[in-house]
Symmetry: C2
């Protein structure tokens, strides 16, 4: 079985519909491409109790990876570390390694002429105040470090909410770990498009094709208008190598295409293949 | 206290990073503008047990509204109603009112020349097979009806995943209910932009302003590059009428702008105001 992940997106802006959750989308795609199964995404407000509750629930499910995004910055409503400490019943304390990272950032800002001198004010020290036992992850792009801790069998990881920072820390410190844990697997996907067939007519044909191609997952996504049905049919598989994956999808695509064409449907191959 | 909502987004495509969750974003924005507090969004795979578990958890939290999107169509992996029935320990049965809605849709497709005759095949009857006690909601755009049921103090509502269908059923059957439940409240928001100030310098100024404007929520969103800080400051409030809301935000904006300018920061007002 694949290693599993839960993503917890923290930020009131996501729950008032101000901000589209592109972070969870990006991370789900990257983790999937590395061979990890993302089981759940939860979005929660900037509220210490809500965060603590959700982290606690996720830990109870013993998912291998729990990754949060958001809530690591200097403002009062950056509450992720507080919520995590509460979930784990651990103290928050200034971490020397994290403080060094933060200090070096501000030293850089002085050199760049953005600020006059390094002052480690409380909002700045806050970014280095971690749940006991957490390891800071360097932030190549912004100021707040990410954090990682091992809690029994789970890697609990917190990344910032600014997309460029989240992505940079993910690539540098998280992706190598996921890759190692997932082992030698690849996720492969492609889509074809069906016209002139209704989804309810297509449904049993997909059933049949999946039944005969047990490692291939097929899902239809209606895209057209009521008057002109146009259905994306998405094929995906996780395999040990690209050849196996491609062969599997190729076989399933040929089989389903023939079934669709028999009903009078038309198939168009997509150009987007794999990653 | 505002009435609360949880959104449950159902679809493996959201967890492999194929599809961006615009449905949850749209619904969170609409519900917020109607005066509802969205507490949590959960995204889950097309898996009956996962869906049942998440619906069960949400019901235990006694949230007033639980709205799912996705998984109502004719294919094998449309599992929302099965998951709900399992969560509620109710039987699934063909609902005559829902079946009539589905039949009329296919009669329309015959008239439009899309299909030759109405055949209520198992995948089509599936869309009218509801947990016992559920009320079908007409779908003005597509085929699968939405559903609504009252479970103790909670409205449990399921909408399709195709955005145009979800939005149409929401506006026709859900929004009026939310409006009635929320009462006479409006949500009002606006943003200003701060340049030449770092987020860690801004943080205590926001604290102070929120402290003196207890009904206003203020959150900073860094938008710039490391070399050129540019911060969106988002103000929002829920009030009984627009005048109260506007006055509140106006006062907070003036106050925070003055504080920012004192540090040498520059403020730019945004053009986007309220809805």
């Amino acid at each position: 079985m694949n290693q599993q992940m839960e993503i917890i997106s923290i930020g009131t802006e996501l729950l008032i519909g101000k901000t589209l959750n592109t972070n969870a989308h990006w991370m789900a795609r990257r983790a999937t491409s590395l061979g990890i199964t993302v089981k759940r995404i939860t979005v929660v407000r900037d509220d210490t109790n809500d965060i603590a509750k959700i982290v606690h629930e996720a830990l109870k499910r013993k998912t291998r990876f729990i990754i949060t995004t958001g809530g690591l910055g200097p403002t009062f409503d950056d509450k992720t570390l507080e919520g995590m400490a509460k979930a784990l019943n651990r103290k928050l304390e200034v971490d020397e390694k994290a403080l060094k990272m933060v200090r070096e950032k501000y030293e850089g800002y002085v050199k760049a002429g953005r600020i006059e001198r390094v002052e480690l004010t409380p909002p700045r020290v806050k970014m280095a105040t971690l749940p006991k036992g957490a390891e800071p992850l360097p932030n190549p792009v912004g100021t707040a470090p990410g954090i990682m801790m091992k809690v029994e069998g789970t890697f609990l990881i917190a990344l910032p909410g600014v997309p460029s920072e989240m992505e940079a820390i993910f690539e540098e410190s998280v992706a190598p770990l996921l890759k190692k844990e997932a082992g030698e697997v690849v996720f492969f996907e492609t889509s074809i498009y069906a016209d002139n067939i209704m989804e309810s007519t297509l449904a049993p044909l997909i059933d049949q094709t999946m039944h005969e191609n047990p490692y291939v997952y097929i899902k239809s996504h209606p895209k057209g208008e009521e008057k002109k049905p146009h259905i994306e049919i998405h094929f995906s598989t996780t395999a040990k190598d690209f050849k196996t994956a491609k062969d599997r999808l190729g076989k399933a695509i040929v089989q389903l295409s023939e079934l669709v064409q028999k009903t009078g449907g038309k198939i168009k191959l997509s150009v987007r293949v794999g990653e």
